[in-house]
């Protein structure tokens, strides 16, 4: 009995360790998924203002980046610019939020990757904290109703981004459902 019990008592500890080592401590589930995206206003590097509220009805990709974030931000920069060029005529907007950076370094980065999508700084880190950002880069894909549909941590790939955007473009707008319900009720 004793000879079996003592080795057996190790099993729960091993299971706990196995669970601990298999989970990624850097992965933090966002509580914001399927919730309304926090609104923000940017004063873009080109001098124009941009308000998220004004982008209702479009699929919005919000990307948090920094020039010091190497290599992840350098890997995904062409992907973001590519997605913008592919989808900008189909009610999709890519917005870059530049975090904890200097204006000079940010402008150099944008020039290097020939960014044409709207980009602006996040003074005081208010927007990043509002979005629960815990690492750079992070990318949020917002549906047409302004809800956060997907969050990607780390360099976003073209496959992930286009799959997310295509999926949201296909999805029937919820506003129509509401109207139907309203009509049914009336």
């Amino acid at each position: 009995m004793k000879k079996v019990l003592i080795p057996l008592s190790v099993v729960p500890i091993l299971l706990l360790l196995a669970y601990g080592f298999w989970t990624d401590p850097r992965f933090v589930p966002s509580p914001l998924i399927e919730k309304p995206a926090p609104l923000f206003a940017l004063s873009l590097f080109d001098g124009e203002p941009l308000s998220l509220d004004g982008l209702r009805g479009k699929v919005v990709v919000v990307n948090f980046w920094a020039s010091w974030c190497f290599p992840a931000c350098y890997e995904e920069a062409p992907v973001l610019e590519g997605a913008w060029r592919t989808y900008k005529d189909r009610d999709v907007v890519v917005v870059g939020v530049n975090v904890q950076d200097t204006e000079k370094a940010a402008r150099e980065f944008m020039e290097r990757f020939q960014f044409t999508f709207p980009n602006g700084p996040d003074p005081g880190g208010k927007i990043s904290i509002d979005y629960g950002v815990y690492g750079i880069p992070e990318t949020f894909v917002l549906d047409k109703e302004g809800r956060i549909a997907h969050k990607h941590v780390g360099a976003v790939t073209a496959d992930v981004l286009s799959a997310q955007i295509e999926g949201l473009l296909r999805r029937a707008p919820v506003a129509d459902d509401n109207r139907q319900e309203h009509e049914r009720g009336a």
Partner: protein
């Protein structure tokens, strides 16, 4: 001379005694008066809140302890919100809403999390039971008989000791 010195010593020690008592009284008074005042100041509230929040870009550091820019920005945000009249609980709730419970260094004492608070005590109680049972078993075991010593050998040791002493 010696006498005067002793008197001086005496006076001196009395004076220091009185002095230390005064200092002690002042320290106690300042703790009583200043601590609550300090706790209600915004800066102290910011520090207390920041100590409860996990710095998102660090490994196991609180926002209060981290020198990172992110932690700095979070402290500024906490201060700003408190100064705008938000309660510390509301500020904490804001961070939980954005980052999830992960942002709290100590898990909330509810639901599954309670295990974390209960387990150490269960373990302690279990250990005490095991210890009790083991000790009882040892006590029940018959006392080991004293080791038998060869009387000739014992005699030899005694003789040698006597020789050493002389």
């Amino acid at each position: 001379m010696g006498r005067r010195g002793r008197e001086l010593d005496c006076n001196g020690s009395i004076r220091t005694h009185r002095g230390s008592r005064l200092i002690l009284a002042l320290v106690v008074l300042s703790m009583v008066v200043v601590l609550p005042l300090g706790a209600s100041s915004t800066e102290e509230q910011v520090r207390q809140l920041a100590a409860e929040l996990r710095c998102p870009v660090c490994q196991g550091l609180s926002v209060a302890d981290s020198p990172s820019k992110m932690a700095n920005q979070m402290r500024d945000l906490i201060r700003e919100r408190l100064e705008a009249g938000e309660s510390p609980e509301a500020v904490k709730a804001y961070f939980v809403e954005r980052y999830g419970e992960w942002i709290l260094l100590a898990p909330k004492k509810e639901g599954f999390n309670l295990l974390v608070w209960v387990f150490p005590f269960l373990g302690l109680a279990g250990g005490a039971v095991v210890l009790f049972v083991v000790i009882r078993r040892w006590q029940k075991r018959p006392q080991a008989a004293p080791a038998s010593v060869d009387s000739a050998y014992l005699e030899k040791v005694r003789r040698e000791m006597a020789q050493d002493q002389s």
